[in-house]
C-alpha cells in the first residue's frame, strides 16, 4: 500500500500534519535524491523506506538511489563503519582503492540534476568527487563519530569537506575538525511499521505460540544483534541473579546475518553460557527475522533491557518506549537522549550489573511503576522520535539548504 502522511493523523494529531504540509510548500517543484548503499537491512534503509515515500506523498519530489558494490566492497565498508566507531583495522591502500573505484563506477551510471543530494553514511561518501557538483550536497552520517580510527578519519575528511553540510545524529557526534556546517537530526521510528504498529493480544498470543515462546511468566527482553557491544553475556549474568528471586524468562532476540562470522561466534558463546537454561526455556534465543515477532515479544515483555557498551542511539530502545515498556538501559552514547532516568526509563553505568538487576526486579514486582514509566516513555517517543518529527527536521533543513 502506498504510504501516505494521512495515515499518521490519528497518531500524531492534526497540528503536526498541518505543519508538515505547510513546510512542504516551500519545497514544491524541488527534486531531492537520497543515496545509500542498501535497500534492505539496517536502520538507515528502514528509515529511508518510510521517509522517501512520505516525502513524495507531501509533494516534495524525492528519489532514492542505491550504490552497488561487489561483496569485497561491502566487507571493506563494514570495516570502515566499525573503524569510524573506533575499532582498529588494517587501513590498506587496496581497501582505499576498491572503495574509490566502486564509487567512481557508480558515478558513471548515475546522473544527478537534482536540487539537493543527500548521501548516507561512509559507503557512498566519496562519490561527490566524481560529479560536476551543481547543487547542495549533504553528508548524513548515522555513525557514532566520537572516537574514529584516526587514519581513516583523515582520509574521509578529504571528501567530507567537499560537502555543503553534514548531519549527525546527536550533539556529541559533531566534529571540531570539520569546517562545514553541522546539523542534528535524531533517529526516529515509523509507528506504522510492522515492527511498531499496534497489534492486538490475539495476534501477540498467536505469534508467540507459533515461534514457541511461552508467555506464562514475566518476560525480560533484549532486542539486539548478537554483538559484543550489546554485552549479551552480562545480560545472562544479570538474569541468573534475577531468576533466583523471581520466576521469569529472558528472551534475547536478534538477527544473525550469515555474512557476519563474528555474530555467529557471539551467538555460540551466548548459547554455551545459557547452558541448560535453554532447555526449559528460562532463556530463549531467537534469530528469526520477522518484524511481527519482534513486535509481539516487545509488546509482551514486562521489562526491556538494553545493556549496550556502546550505542549510537538505540532504535530498539525507541521501539520499546513506544510500546509503553519500562526500559532499563546503559547510560552510553545516545541512550540518555531517549531516557531521562527515573522518569521514562532507567539508566545505569554498563558495569553496574547490580543496578540493572535490582531495577528489573523492582519493575516486575511493581507493575504500577512499570505502567507509569511506560506511559511517560510513549509520550517521549510521540513527541520526539517518530518519523513525522524527522520529516519536519528534513523539511526545515532542506529549506535552509536549497532556498537560502
Amino acid at each position: 500500500m502506498v504510504k501516505s502522511i494521512d495515515d499518521y493523523y490519528d497518531i500524531v494529531g492534526p497540528q503536526i500534519i498541518a505543519e508538515i504540509h505547510k513546510k512542504a510548500r516551500k519545497l514544491y517543484g524541488k527534486h531531492i535524491v537520497h543515496i545509500n548503499s542498501t535497500f534492505q537491512g539496517g536502520g538507515v534503509a528502514e528509515m529511508l523506506l518510510s521517509l522517501i515515500p512520505l516525502m513524495n506523498d507531501i509533494n516534495v519530489t524525492t528519489g532514492w538511489r542505491v550504490l552497488h558494490g561487489n561483496p569485497d566492497f561491502y566487507t571493506i565498508t563494514k570495516k570502515f563503519h566499525n573503524g569510524l566507531q573506533g575499532e582498529d583495522f588494517n587501513f590498506s591502500d587496496i581497501k582505499q582503492q576498491l572503495y574509490l573505484e566502486t564509487n567512481e563506477d557508480f558515478s558513471q551510471i548515475t546522473h544527478l540534476d537534482h536540487d539537493c543530494v543527500i548521501i548516507h553514511d561512509p559507503q557512498p561518501l566519496p562519490i561527490i568527487k566524481f560529479f560536476k557538483k551543481q547543487q547542495p550536497w549533504i553528508w548524513r552520517c548515522h555513525v557514532d563519530l566520537t572516537s574514529p580510527h584516526q587514519e581513516l578519519w583523515e582520509f574521509l575528511k578529504h571528501f567530507i569537506v567537499r560537502y555543503d553540510h553534514m548531519i549527525v545524529s546527536n550533539e556529541q557526534y559533531k566534529k571540531e575538525d570539520i569546517p562545514i556546517p553541522q546539523h542534528i537530526i535524531c533517529p526516529a521510528i515509523d509507528p506504522l511499521d510492522p515492527k511498531n504498529k499496534e497489534i492486538d493480544s490475539e495476534l501477540i498470543d498467536y505469534t508467540l505460540e507459533k515461534f514457541e515462546i511461552p508467555n506464562d511468566k514475566p518476560i525480560i527482553t533484549q532486542v539486539s544483534r548478537f554483538d559484543k557491544w550489546k554485552d549479551p553475556i552480562n545480560v545472562l549474568k544479570i538474569f541468573k541473579n534475577i531468576k533466583k528471586k523471581i520466576d521469569c524468562r529472558l528472551v534475547l532476540c536478534g538477527s544473525l546475518a550469515s555474512d557476519d562470522p563474528e555474530g555467529v561466534l557471539i551467538y555460540e558463546q551466548v548459547k554455551e553460557a545459557a547452558g541448560n537454561m535453554l532447555e526449559n526455556k528460562d532463556v530463549i534465543l531467537t534469530t528469526v527475522e520477522n518484524d511481527i515477532l519482534v513486535n509481539a515479544i516487545q509488546s509482551q515483555s514486562s521489562v526491556i533491557i538494553q545493556k549496550s557498551l556502546r550505542e549510537g542511539f538505540g532504535l530498539t530502545i525507541t521501539e520499546a518506549l513506544w510500546k509503553s515498556k519500562p526500559v532499563v538501559a546503559s547510560k552510553v552514547g545516545g541512550v540518555p537522549i531517549q531516557i531521562t532516568n527515573g522518569k521514562d526509563g532507567f539508566l545505569f553505568d554498563p558495569m553496574d550489573l547490580k543496578g540493572f538487576e535490582n531495577k528489573i526486579i523492582e519493575l516486575i514486582e511493581h507493575p504500577d511503576l512499570a505502567v507509569k514509566i511506560g506511559k511517560n516513555a510513549r509520550d517521549k517517543v510521540k513527541k520526539n522520535f517518530l518519523i513525522t518529527r524527522q520529516i519536519v527536521n528534513y523539511l526545515d533543513l532542506l529549506d535552509e539548504f536549497i532556498n537560502n
Copy 2:
C-alpha cells in the same frame, strides 16, 4: 576501473568501435533509463553491469534503477518467471496484489523524465501503469515465451499493451497475440568480464589447484545451475559410459543459492547419483561463486557439454564458444542460434544420450577436430554475441524509438 569502449578496440577491431561512436551521435543529449529488479545475480544484471557504463562512456546518458521488493515479492516473481517458461503454479489474487503493490510503491519514489524507459523482465513490468507516461517505454523480456502459463500471460498482457515496443531474445519468442512492435536483441557476453577475459595458463593452474580440481586428465564440463532443466543426472549417465572408454573427469560447476530449495534438492540428488565417483574425483561438483574459477574450468576443459532440456539462449554456451571450446549441446530453445551443428559445435536431441557420448569421445580422441571446431566457435561469438554487437543493436533501436 571505469569501463570504456576503448578497452574493446583490440578485441573487435576499429571498424565496430567507429560504428558505435557514429550511431551514438544520434543519441547525444538523450537520457535513457533501464529498470530491472536486482543489481547482482543472474544474466540480466550481469549484462546491464557491462552495458550501462559503456553507453555512458560513448555519451549516451543511461541510468539504472533497481525495483526493490520484500522477500515475498521475489518469491512471487520467481514463480511468474518460471510460469512464463511454462511451469504451473497457483496464480492467486494475493500474488497479483503484492506484485502490483510493490510496483506502485516503487513508482512513488521513482521519477522518470527520461527520453526512453526500458523495463527488464516481468518483475517491474506493471510499473508503467503508475506513471504519467510521456516517452517511449520498452519492455525487454529475457524469458523464453514459447509456452507461457496461460492465465499469467493474459494478466501480464494488460501491462504489455501499454508499452510502445517489446524486445525479445529470439524470433521464436515473438508472440502473435501481442499487438505492439516486437524486436529482437540476442544476448551477449562481455569479453572483458572476469568470467570471459583471457587468463594465462599460470593463473588457470593456480586457480584449479586452489579449488582442488586436478587437471591431469581430460575434463568434460557442464556449467549450469543445479536445476532439473539442466538435466545433470543424465550428464552423469553419459559420463559413466564415456569413462568406460576414456580416462577423464567430469566437472559440474554451478551456483547454489541458499534461497533456492529446489536447487539444493537437485544438488543432493546429483551427489547421490555420483556416489563413489566423487571420492577419487572422477566427478567433481563445485558450487563456489567465483568468476575466475568458472573461467579456469572452462578454459581447461577438453569438451563442454550443455545437456539442457530447455534453454532460453544459454550464455554458458556462449562463454565456452568464446574460449574456443568444442561444445556438445541439446538442440533446444535458443541453442541452435549459437551452434551450427558440425561447424562450430554439435547439437543432439536431448534424449539422444548415445549421441552426446559418442561425440564427446570423438572430440577427446581427436584434438585436431576440437581445435578446428573451437576456432569456428570463437569466430561465431566474436561476430554475433559480444556486448559490442549488443550496443549496436540498442543504439539502432533507441534511434528508432526516440528519433522517429
